[in-house]
Amino acid sequence: MKTTTIQRGIAALALAMLVLALAGCSGSPVQDPFWFLHPNGPIARASIFYLIVDVLLLLIVIVPATALVIWTFFRYRKGGKGRYDPTYNHSVIVEVVVWGVPLLLVVVLSYFSYQGARDVAPFNPQALKSAVAKSGNKKPLRIDVISTDWQWLFIYPDEGIAMSNRLVVPTGRKISMNLTSATVTNDFYVLKLVNQIYMMPGMRTKQHFFVERTGTYQGFSTEFSGPGFSWMNYKVLAVTPGKFEDWVQRARQSGNQMNWQDFEKFAQPTINTGDRWSLYSQVQPNLFSKLIHEVKAGDMNIVWPARLSENMTTHEFDRKFGTGSANSDKNGTTADHPSQSNSD
């Protein structure tokens, strides 16, 4: 009777796994932007490569361990077939194997760990080298990324333009980013494309990536940063270099400004921009480094209201922060979509 309970348990488990696998893969995962196993750039691909290597190597220990636990259990049930020998409580051979094999495994994994860490090191990823070489060693596109409560600002310093709550990048060119935050820590992540990196107030981190295919990707913050955190989603559009140039030209005509005063306004708490974005044709040249200095000097005074959350309803958010509408310029939202034909 006991065995059947267990068997039933195992059967139920297997069924659950199957259902889950199906539910997880519904639709083609390649088109689903939410499936980090389908990388679209060298960095994300390197990560997945190490994931697979790691899992395969781990299985060398995991499979025998699981099998052994289950087999001994069934074999040596009381009243079962197994021979009872309570004096068998030590074995040097077993000891050597159970310490030795995992140790060897960790040695091998350590090698891969180091290679992986170098390949995707945010400040200087080796994985980009060959892609960059193949693409003709174009000058990297620089982007300064700033997170606020709870919006994004992407500055293209060389182009002198900026965009909020949406990122547009060209394919086939290395992109190098500087990142910081205006208030609390966020974590920059574009699924399938760019690995995570902290964005910390008063500090600068770097990240690099390279897009191979045009397409729309999802960017978001993964480090909890307060009540607007869940709505910090934005789209990343990867377009061909030609389209990107066109887009830059259009952005230059948008007529919006992002000077320090504008930024201070922009950085006030704002929740849920609802896929609304703005283009800025003019950006104060040192905005990024000025922000770092101001934060360090304690001059970014963004103080949240004291509140007792029980009566902090969404309506109050509306009043205080203007939920649902970024202080984006209405003109900005009507600017041309950089590319309509970017699905692959």
């Binding site: 074995s91 860490a117 690995n195 307060g226």
Partner: protein
């Protein structure tokens, strides 16, 4: 005072006038409030009705008996576990509701039924209390209850300190309950993400509640560790060398070494944060020369050892249960001890894996990656040794064994995902996703499974009767089902890219998996009911389920089974002499299972004292006053604490001696009872119920 606070502050009431702004119109708060009042009210009413206050005060609240202290720790932990489960259920159901821009919102929320602040409070309090006020007290409780028995001690090294630890923990739990209704809780995650916890971003009292809960329970764990380590080093029974110490006690040793060395770090980190918030220093701010990543380092320098602090005793439970129900000694005993201590040692070198993505270079990250993977080695060794313990054994599937085996299987999964996260290249795509959440819940489930195994295993020892087997098995399968349904989809969602700590789910394609998790929560809810029912039925039928001999499972191996069930307050009639690693199994083999020693001697015992609970009262009041910044009450409480300690220092009459003849009389009575029971059951079954002997093979 000191700080530029938002909202009102006055010298008499501190920040309490803020409460006047608060409308208690949230049904969830009202529901929780009603539940607590109802539960607490019932207990108070029952105590009054049955006139039990005196008994409670004399026998429990002022006790220094390690077994009662242990049981009280476990009760606190189970109550908090229960509360934590409610929060888990709220997070899961809210998230399943708040999917996609068109999802409905009720009770003032735009989506789902919890507003952004409210849900962040809930996940913060869930993490904080599950780790520090549920799992930790339960484990500390078991160490208190079992370790002295296992090492043949009559008492602990510092019984007074032990009681202080208990009452501090109780105060932390109390503070957590108060925060539910009076004010708010931190919203910055259980790890207290800086600079989010700084006054600029968390101007309310929530973070202060969180700070004082952490601070008090951290000090409680430190003093508890001092006591347990001293007890194990100095009070082992004659003949018990360190290497003969039972494996659970060894894991307790490893754990408490971790506690003693790491909790002070938390104390310091939290104290610095407290200064930032209360007097305006700049330790962890982004401005003023502060370095908030220093907090992250300090926190995880404690935080990672803390996760091994909670897992080692669980490994200890498993290592006690599997040999008992395999009727065979633990395989490679020495190697298991070594593995335990290695885990404890390496736990110090891995903290940076919690923020690989901070931007450190590949060399630094690789160092911590390798250190992290090293932990996997002794963990794997343990799994193999447990399997080899069953190998050539006679495995019985009583409930404790079921929990232990479930735990081992979970360990394989959790260890594997841990080893995945330990590779920086993988961590960069999975950090802060629900994959991490699934990983550490998987690890904590190992602990939960081991705890329920331990509850079933040692219940007859502590109370003298068994827990109901049938309901226990139902409980197990429901709990197992819940775990599968909640956490397998969660792993999948991690791969899909779902971030942790979300209040609103932007992507409708995740909805089916979120619903499966709700199914899991339903199973968990049923399992809670089964557990409550199990305890109730077992207590109701306790006469039927009495333990007959000292050895409830008949194949137990260590010294705690060499005394009565439940053990008398002096633990052993006479200090036992130890001959072997598995002393009780050795005695069984040599047919020395009688509990009657050759002679009795005078025994020295500590007296009950009200000082710890009084001290606890001052600490509790101090922390509430600190949360609301009522400086004068804080001052009075400090004076009160000092006065209490001075009073204690001058107390001379703190212990007494049980004379040998009195001891003999008490023991004789107990031994007679055992004889009666043995005779009764012999009449029923027609045999003498003699336990089977190891080494006496059947086939």
């Amino acid at each position: 005072m000191f700080m530029n606070l938002q909202g009102p502050w006055d010298p008499l009431f501190g920040r309490l006038p803020m409460l006047l702004d608060l409308q208690y119109n949230n049904p969830w708060i009202m529901f929780a409030f009603a539940l607590v009042v109802l539960g607490g009210g019932t207990v108070v009413a029952a105590l009054t009705y049955y006139k039990l206050w005196g008994w409670l005060w004399r026998d429990w609240l002022t006790t220094v008996d390690h077994k009662k202290i242990g049981i009280m720790y476990i009760i606190i932990g189970l109550v908090m576990l229960f509360r934590g489960f409610f929060e888990a259920a709220m997070i899961r159901t809210h998230q399943a509701m708040a999917v996609g821009p068109d999802s409905p919102g009720i009770l003032g929320a735009a989506h789902g039924y919890l507003t952004p602040f409210h849900i962040s409070e809930i996940f913060t309090v869930h993490g904080t209390l599950m780790i520090l006020l549920a799992v930790t007290p339960i484990l500390v409780g078991f160490m208190n209850l079992i370790v002295p028995l296992q090492i043949g001690a009559r008492d602990m090294a510092y019984p007074f300190l032990n009681a202080v630890g208990l009452w501090l923990t109780a105060m932390a739990a109390g503070l957590c309950m108060v925060s539910l209704f009076v004010g708010s809780f931190s919203h910055a995650g259980w790890v207290g993400l800086t600079p989010l916890t700084e006054l600029d971003h968390s101007p309310g009292v929530g973070v202060d509640y969180w700070i004082w809960i952490l601070q008090i329970s951290s000090i409680a764990s430190t003093v508890g560790a001092v006591n347990l380590i001293a007890t194990m080093l100095k009070m082992r029974a004659p003949g018990m060398s360190l290497m003969r110490m039972p494996i659970f006690s060894w894991t307790a040793m490893g754990t408490n070494i971790i506690a003693l060395t790491s909790f002070p770090l938390l104390t310091v980190a939290i104290a610095l944060l407290t200064l930032d918030r209360y007097v305006g220093t700049h330790f962890f701010t982004a401005d003023g020369g502060g370095n908030f990543m220093m907090y992250t380092n300090l926190f995880w320098l404690w935080g990672h050892p803390e996760v091994y602090f909670v897992v080692l005793p669980a490994f200890g439970f498993i290592s006690e249960i599997i040999p008992t129900f395999s009727e065979k000694p633990l395989f490679n005993h020495t190697s298991m001890i070594f593995a335990t201590m290695m885990i404890a040692g390496v736990s110090w070198l891995v903290w940076l894996h919690h923020f690989f993505i901070m931007g450190s270079g590949p060399q630094v990250n690789t160092f911590f990656s390798i250190a992290t993977m090293l932990v996997g080695i002794p963990t794997g060794v343990k799994v193999f040794n447990w399997a080899f313990t069953m190998f050539r054994g006679r495995v019985r599937l009583e409930t404790p064994m079921l929990w232990a085996l479930g735990s081992v299987l979970l360990l394989i999964g959790g260890g594997m995902t841990g080893m995945m996260l330990a590779i920086p290249a993988i961590n960069y795509v999975s950090h802060n996703s629900v994959f991490v959440v699934a990983h550490f819940h998987n690890m904590f489930l190992i602990i939960a499974f081991a705890i329920f195994g331990a509850v079933t295993y040692w219940w007859p020892k502590a109370f003298g009767f068994y827990l109901d087997e049938k309901l226990g098995k139902i409980f197990f399968w429901l709990f197992w089902g819940g775990s599968v349904f909640v956490f397998v989809p969660m792993y999948a969602l991690g791969f899909l890219g779902m971030t942790r700590r979300l209040d609103y789910i932007a992507h409708p394609s995740w909805w089916p998996l979120l619903m499966l998790e709700v199914v899991g929560i339903a199973l968990y809810a049923a399992s809670v009911a089964a557990f409550v029912l199990q305890v109730y039925v077992s207590i109701r039928d306790r006469e039927k389920n009495r333990v007959r001999t000292s050895d409830a499972w008949e194949t137990s191996r260590s010294l705690e089974w060499a005394t009565h069930c439940p053990p008398p307050f002096y633990n052993f009639g006479a200090t036992p002499i130890v001959h072997s690693n598995d002393e009780w199994a050795w005695r069984r083999e040599h047919r020395l299972t009688t509990l009657k020693p050759e002679n009795y001697s005078d025994t020295h015992m500590p007296k009950n004292t009200a000082v710890p609970i009084v001290l606890g009262f001052f600490v509790g009041l101090f922390s509430i006053a600190a949360v609301w910044r009522v400086w004068w009450v804080m001052g009075l409480c400090v004076i009160g604490m000092i006065a209490t300690l001075i009073f204690r220092a001058f107390q001379k009459d703190v212990d007494y001696v049980i004379p040998a003849d009195e001891m003999e009389a008490m023991e004789r009575e107990k031994l007679d009872q055992i004889d009666h029971r043995a005779q009764d059951s012999a009449q029923q079954t027609g045999e003498m119920g003699e336990p089977e002997i190891d080494g006496h093979a059947h086939g």
